[in-house]
């Protein structure tokens, strides 16, 4: 019976361990895989372009040729776009319309008597007659415009032409009315009526035609934005006009490029009206939508020449760890965050370790058990249980607002706050370490005429050092990963790596805060997935490295002692 119990217990324990290991792997492996993706990935030429132009990287000749070949492959696409937007027929048609407009106005000027007769009429009848007169006068113009709308000319170019015609019609009507006013002394209301009604038919038509092509144009714009997102702007002049880096470059990573192709080019959002007349957004396959137009050719070209326009190649971007970030981490690396985490961690350790060791020495060597000491111990215990966000608020309220250790957030304030957070852990670890030193060492040292302090310095501390260091380093790991205390005291989401001299006055980006920030507050969170995972992996790596350092140091020091 006992045997069975023993065996089942062993099996259960092993199963639990396996489960834990599996969970850990299941948790770590995706992070490691995705995090490494920030450094090793399939890059497009845009990646090299960015590095060359913003970080002064020396790009090897081979890559430069790659960029040139990609640009050459893109040239036909840019040409298609420009010819679509500036259809030749459009300019000519615009001219034709303008000519007809001028002719109509000229004939109306020549035919003054009719107009005078109509304007002589009163009230409602005048407006009626005027409208009819205008309708007949603009008949040719309207016919021509309607014909254009049905022609091969791209809606984009047509819209431009119609828009300019609209403004010209309005200004010409105004001019015509004031001219008539001068010769015929019309007065305010008649002049106004003339101005309003004389171009009413063509203006109405323009409005109607533009409304018809506007939906199609909006769809085209949507598609063009997608192309921009994928490839960046077409030339330097266009590039210099753009403010944001993300608009100046296309996709730097092949996986993101494929996603862009699928989501922003092959499929687009269009606006249509539903049965009740309300405007709704709908997702359509763009090839279907632009069937049998020049735009379809563009989409085909992009699809067929996708690889030659982007030239995917595998790359190892070590700069991810050592470069500054650009445009909210969409480009560049995470060096300032690593630096900030380093400053905060070591800063807090430098503050907390001496205090913690001193307190531990007091507790374990000097303090006589009594009410005051148990109260102090309780305080340390309570401090360990205080939620970290409270430490953050304390840092803001006390260190920054009351003590004014710095103007606003600073690394110093953050380091002090973190130091307070890890202090109880350090005190406890050090106290345990000191208590573990055999009493016989104390007796031996004191027996040889050492004072208490001398005995502590020469025998007890050296003997306790390995365990104390372990405790301190593990606390450092905790400080490195804490987010809440630095939100109010030290962290900014954007900033460059600080110089040592700035840590007393300047806030810094730091890994834990920026991980939160980039995952939940970032405006394009889905475009920086690799950075999110890269940061997480870096932070985990840092904490693990600290823990391994603790283990290694402990082993080394203990070997030395033995």
């Amino acid at each position: 019976m006992r045997n069975i119990l023993d065996r089942s217990f062993t099996i259960m324990a092993r199963a639990c361990l396996c489960l834990m290991a599996l969970t850990l792997l299941g948790f770590l492996l995706p992070i490691i895989y995705n995090g490494l993706g920030a450094v090793f990935f399939n890059a497009t030429v845009e990646h090299e372009k960015f590095l060359r132009e913003n970080l002064d990287y020396d790009i090897p000749q081979k890559k430069i040729e790659l960029i040139e070949r990609a640009d050459a492959a893109r040239a036909p696409l840019w040409k298609m776009i420009s010819s679509y937007e500036n259809s030749h027929g459009a300019a000519e048609s615009g001219k034709l319309l303008a000519q007809i407009r001028k002719d109509v106005f000229a004939s109306m000027r020549a035919d003054k008597e009719t107009l005078e007769k109509i304007l002589g009429l009163g009230g409602r009848e005048r407006a009626e007659k005027l409208r009819k007169y205008a309708e007949s006068a603009w008949k040719i113009y309207d016919l021509e415009a309607s014909r254009l709308a049905k022609s091969e000319i791209s809606p984009f170019a047509l819209d431009k032409a119609f828009k300019s015609e609209q403004t010209s019609l309005e200004s010409d009507a105004k001019k015509f009315a004031s001219d008539c006013d001068k010769t015929m002394k019309l007065g305010f209301s008649k002049r106004n009526s003339l101005r309003r009604n004389i171009c009413l038919p063509p203006l109405g038509l323009m409005k109607k035609l533009r409304a018809e092509i506007s939906l199609q144009n909006a769809a085209y714009f949507e598609l063009k934005n997608g192309i921009r997102e994928l490839l960046g702007p077409s030339d330097k002049t266009e590039k210099s006009k753009l403010n944001l880096l993300r608009q100046r470059y296309g996709q730097t990573r092949m996986d993101m490029a494929k996603k862009t192709l699928e989501e922003s080019i092959l499929h687009i959002n269009i606006k249509t009206k539903n049965s009740r007349g309300a405007e709704i957004s709908r997702r359509v396959a763009s090839k279907q939508y632009f069937k049998n137009s020049a735009v379809e050719d563009m989409i085909d070209y992009i699809e067929n020449n996708f690889d030659s326009m982007l030239k995917p190649h595998f790359t190892a971007y070590w700069g991810f760890f050592f470069d500054e970030p650009f445009d909210s981490n969409i480009f560049g690396g995470i060096w300032p965050m690593i630096c900030g985490t380093f400053y905060l961690t070591f800063g807090s350790m430098l503050i907390a370790a001496p205090l913690g060791i001193a307190a531990a020495i007091y507790f374990s060597e000097y303090a006589k058990e009594g009410r005051v000491i148990s109260l102090l111990r309780m305080c340390v215990g309570t401090l360990a249980g205080v939620p970290s966000i409270v430490f953050g608020l304390f840092g803001l309220a006390f260190l920054i607002n009351t003590l004014k250790v710095s103007e606003s957030k600073s690394v110093l304030a953050g380091a002090i706050t973190l130091a307070l957070l890890i202090l109880p852990t350090i005190i406890r670890a050090c106290e345990e370490a000191l208590k573990a030193v055999p009493q016989s060492y104390r007796e031996a040292a004191l027996g040889l005429g050492a004072g208490k302090w001398k005995a502590i310095c020469t025998v007890i501390l050296p003997a306790a050092l390995p365990s104390m260091l372990t405790g301190i380093i593990i606390s450092m790991g905790r400080a490195a990963g804490e987010t809440a205390p630095i939100i109010f005291t030290a962290a900014t989401s954007i900033g460059s790596a600080l110089a040592i001299s700035d840590i007393f006055t300047q806030p810094t980006p730091a890994l834990p805060w920026n991980i939160y920030n980039i995952c939940s507050e970032h405006e394009m969170a889905d475009r920086v997935g690799h950075v999110q995972y890269g940061m997480v992996l870096t932070l985990i790596g840092l904490v693990l490295a600290l823990n391994f350092a603790a283990i290694w140091m402990r082993a080394r020091l203990q070997n030395k002692v033995k």
Binding site: S440, Y441, A445, L448, G449, G451, T458
Partner: protein, 261 residues
């Protein structure tokens, strides 16, 4: 160090106790002990477990200060100086009254550093002087020949007997007047015990030695005088030959003949 104002023991006694009592809280551990340790002689303290002999020994260099709520009454004098005087420099006292503990307790340092530790505390910095003192002390403790080639290796790597002799060498290095030994051989095998006993015989004459032991034969072998403690009281005190051959007290007789304890 200040002289005790009202007690001047004869010069032939290194340590004198007069109506000396020790309390742990309310427990009266050592009761009104009056005894003198002869200068240059070995004094053994025997008695059953818990009779207060170790406590008494540890009071001589104030090692019991480490124990909380330990309190003393009466007088304990070293060379006419009140050991429990308020303004006494305890570190200085312990330098004059060395101690060897029940279990060997070398520091986790090299053999050399262990011996040099107390000397360094006295402010000696010169390597040549330190070397000489270390060698002399190790020779006195009959350890030099065994360890002279590995002075820089860790002391914790030595055998128990060697460690105990190292502790004696360490105590000797600071040139004390008195050496207190609290069951120095209880953790050692017979061979190591014999070596320590030889060492004690060698050191007597030069040092005043007080040794607490459970081993009656040992007390008989190494000591000049013997004190028998029982239930916190000093029952009998006299020369070793007298105590072991002709005890005056019945309890002493019972103890040394092995009827109890």
């Amino acid at each position: 160090m200040e002289m005790s104002p009202n007690y001047h023991p004869p010069k032939e006694f290194a340590i004198s106790a007069k109506d000396f009592s020790v309390f742990y809280g309310s427990f009266h551990a050592v009761k009104n002990v009056n005894m003198d340790f002869e200068r240059g002689k070995v004094t053994a303290i025997i008695g059953p477990s818990g009779c207060g002999k170790s406590t008494f020994l540890r009071c001589i260099n104030r090692m019991n200060d480490l124990v909380e709520n330990c309190r003393t009454e009466g007088l304990l004098a070293f060379d006419g100086i009140d050991i429990y005087h308020k303004r006494l420099d305890v570190a200085e006292l312990r330098r004059r009254i060395g101690m060897v503990f029940q279990r060997p307790n070398p520091f986790p340092k090299s053999i050399y550093e262990n011996v040099a530790y107390g000397v360094r505390l006295k402010g000696v910095r010169k390597k040549a002087i330190l070397d000489e003192i270390v060698e002399n002390s190790l020779r006195r403790a009959a350890l030099w020949d065994e360890v002279k080639d590995r002075l820089s290796s860790n002391a914790l790597g030595m055998s128990g007997g060697q460690q105990q002799r190292l502790c004696i060498a360490r105590a000797l290095a600071i040139k004390p007047c008195v050496l207190l030994m609290d069951e120095p051989c209880s953790a050692l095998d017979p061979k190591s015990t014999a070596r320590i006993e030889d060492l004690i015989a060698e050191l007597s004459g030069e040092y005043t030695i007080a040794i607490v032991t459970h081993n009656m034969q040992q007390a008989a072998r190494v000591s000049d005088n013997t004190a028998f403690f029982y239930e916190g009281r000093l029952v009998e005190f006299g020369t070793t030959s007298q105590i072991f051959t002709n005890p005056k007290n019945k309890a002493t007789n019972d103890y040394i003949t092995g009827r109890f304890g």
